[in-house]
């Protein structure tokens, strides 16, 4: 349940718009059923009051939008950032992907966002509205007389269950109380897959990736994927493809993408959130993060602007290539 309300954000945004500090607001627009909120640009107090919403379904990470919006929109943009979004924000700044001067960032606390598919798995299809009473979501459906109470914690998105930080690493202004980097067990699933035999592991990924429909949503939502022209969209690259020509290519896309964002991925989890086929894509990225942590020492992409990722900074302490293999063999 979010402690900060939409009304507080509307008030804040309205004040900044009215004072001319910002010219527009990147926020969430309410949808048809409560959970289907859409990222939107608001440029007047009336629009904010009519459509702005902040609830348990505002999962979208706005950082990536800043790349295109700071180029397209005039004036300063107000953006609301949840703790995990601020890591992407910093990472994009490290990569010089947008002009910091064009952004007014407000950090907002986040209690974790809800995965609507988990709610549906609990109450079934036919949700007409969703309310809250503190610890529970009160879900009204077309088929139940009374709203069904669903424990908020039981329907959190995977990335929120394994939340790595409630701390904002970037903002101009912070609403609510600052949180901390938190202990988490986000690498447990990676460790479980690492412990499989190569054949089992191959079968696991084969099964997951064979469902890919190459909609590119993972890439298009990923804050680390901001190439002006993606290699997979470039006919001259030789790997441009809209659908896999065979099962090898199917994996190629995701593996190449994981390599390309290695060291830059902040583990924001957008890839898995947007996948229409529920492929746990974040596990590929987490595997790289886990390996890098183990090989080169703990590193969190986006923690600070200007940090050099382990894969782009050489030190004499670096692991020798062969050691990674030895380590794998002894671990296995």
């Amino acid at each position: 349940m979010q402690k900060i309300t939409g009304d507080i954000l509307i008030e804040k945004a309205s004040a900044l718009l009215s004072s001319g500090t910002v010219s527009c607001v990147l926020g969430w627009k309410k949808g048809e059923f409560g959970y289907d909120v859409t990222p939107a640009v608001f440029s007047s107090v009336e629009e904010l009051e009519r459509d702005f919403v902040y609830n348990d379904f505002c999962g979208a990470n706005f950082s990536k939008y800043l790349v295109s919006k700071t180029r397209k929109l005039e004036g300063k943009i107000l953006v609301f950032l949840k703790p995990c979004d601020t890591y992407s924000f910093n990472q994009l700044l490290s990569e010089h992907r947008f002009d910091r001067e064009k952004v007014y960032a407000i950090g907002i606390p986040c209690e974790g966002m809800v995965d609507i598919s988990k709610v549906k798995a609990t109450v079934g299809e036919g949700i007409s509205s969703i309310d809250t009473d503190g610890d529970n979501l009160l879900v009204s459906t077309l088929y139940d007389e009374e709203p069904v109470a669903v424990d908020f914690k039981s329907v959190l998105a995977e990335r929120c269950i394994n939340c790595k930080s409630k701390k904002h690493v970037a903002y101009d202004e912070l609403l609510g109380e600052e949180g901390d980097v938190i202990e988490n067990s986000r690498f447990d699933e990676v460790a479980r897959i690492e412990a499989l035999t190569p054949d089992e592991r191959f079968a696991f990924w084969q099964n997951e990736l064979s469902r890919c429909i190459r909609c590119n949503a993972c890439r298009d939502a990923c804050p680390a994927c901001t190439c002006e022209k993606c290699v997979f969209d470039n006919p001259a690259s030789g790997v441009e493809n809209k659908s896999p020509a065979n099962s090898f290519e199917e994996k190629l896309f995701h593996i190449i993408r994981a390599y390309h964002v290695a060291g830059r991925c902040t583990d924001c989890g957008e890839c898995s959130r947007v996948c229409p086929q529920n492929i746990p894509l974040h596990l590929l990225n987490r595997k790289f993060i886990k390996d890098m942590n183990e090989f080169y020492g703990e590193y969190q992409a986006g923690e600070e602007v200007g940090m050099r990722a382990p894969l782009v900074s050489y030190t004499t302490e670096d692991l020798e290539p062969g050691e990674a293999l030895t380590r794998r063999d002894t671990d296995a």
């Binding site: 939008y65 969209d233 020509a245």
Partner: protein, 342 residues
């Protein structure tokens, strides 16, 4: 009308599978449903619908069109086609059955797409009436009745029984072949179920959504609407809506070098993609606003204009639940068409 008790459904599936490959919705671990080939022990899903639409059966995501062998300056065209096996798709919802009609008007119009036609000829569709529509359903907007699904055979499922009615000769032949398992019955229970479904339909949040403002000839009126900019503002340009859509049928044709020859294949393409209309010397839809507009104009204006006012949307709601930013055709219809659907 014929029926069989629900505990005999596996016998029925086994009987169908004797002469054709049988596909039906099956539950996945993550709670979603997917069409799978029936094998002994496969359980029929109770889910409202599958994430991917059954258009795959007739218009697969990728299919080989032909092969080429080149030697020096010469080329040989190799026919790579194989006659598909007869197949039966069980449990297709009314919305998805309509999508086949919409695809037919594209692929079966002259010149007939023989790849599609061949699959269509080999397939039998057993539809299934809905009992628990979702908030995202709006098939009624397009005149589809989820209580009366079409297809070669229509089916209704109650707590204890499954009812069947054939609509085509193909369907009747199949039902006749299942005589040993099915028994004749009256319409009473099916009628009672239809009444129940219709009562639910009147409670759906999108029940009043209309196509007002759309249809053939509306291009000049809505093409330049300022709303397109606003609606497409946060569109990621991914292909999710297109690929989960049962009526999206745009495709690309590409060559794949296998190392020993060339395979020319066709695959799904998306008008949302930046390179969809890109030519060597330019692109006539350079912005996401233009690409976004194309998708909805196609479904709501261009297609009806070319196809006797039939809209190229069936109200299945897949794009409503799958779009990463929850932008969808309902929001477009409400904003651009001006009907609030309330």
């Amino acid at each position: 009308m014929r029926k069989c008790s629900l505990d005999k459904i596996n016998l029925l599936f086994a009987e169908i599978a004797k002469n054709a490959v049988l596909y039906l919705p099956v539950d996945e671990n993550d709670g979603s449903a997917v069409y799978k080939k029936w094998e002994d022990g496969t359980a029929y899903s109770n889910a409202l619908n599958t994430v991917r639409s059954p258009k795959d059966f007739f218009f697969p995501q990728t299919e080989n069109l032909m092969g080429f062998k080149t030697l020096g300056k010469t080329i040989e065209v190799i026919d790579t086609r194989v006659e598909p096996d007869d197949f039966v798709i069980f449990g297709v919802r009314a919305c998805d059955v309509r999508s086949f009609d919409i695809l037919d008007r594209v692929f079966l119009s002259e010149p007939v797409d023989s790849f599609y036609a061949s699959r269509r000829n080999h397939g039998i569709i057993i539809s299934m009436a809905c009992t628990r529509p979702s908030e995202t359903c709006f098939c009624k907007t397009f005149g589809i009745d989820p209580a009366e699904p079409q297809g070669d055979i229509s089916a209704w499922k109650t707590e204890t029984e499954v009812f069947f009615k054939s609509n085509t000769a193909k369907g009747e032949n199949l039902l006749t072949a299942l005589d040993g398992i099915l028994e004749d019955c009256d319409n009473n229970e099916v009628d009672a179920q239809k009444a129940k479904i219709n009562a639910v339909m009147n409670r759906l949040p999108l029940k009043n959504l209309t196509t007002d403002g759309f249809g053939g000839g509306k291009t000049a009126e809505i093409f330049d609407s300022p709303k397109w900019e606003e609606l497409s503002e946060s569109c990621l340009g991914c292909g999710t809506c297109t690929f989960v859509c049962p009526t999206c049928q745009c495709y690309d044709i590409k060559d794949f070098n296998t190392g020993t020859g060339v395979i020319r294949f066709r695959c799904w393409d998306s008008c949302m993609y930046s390179d969809f209309t890109k030519m060597a010397h330019g692109n006539n839809r350079n912005t996401q606003k233009e690409r976004f507009r194309q998708r909805f104009m196609h479904k709501l204006v261009y297609y009806p204009e070319n196809n006797e006012e039939i809209f190229s949307c069936v109200g299945c709601g897949r794009c409503l639940s799958k779009c990463p930013i929850s932008m969808n055709i309902v929001k477009v219809m409400k904003e651009i068409g001006g009907n609030k659907g309330e």
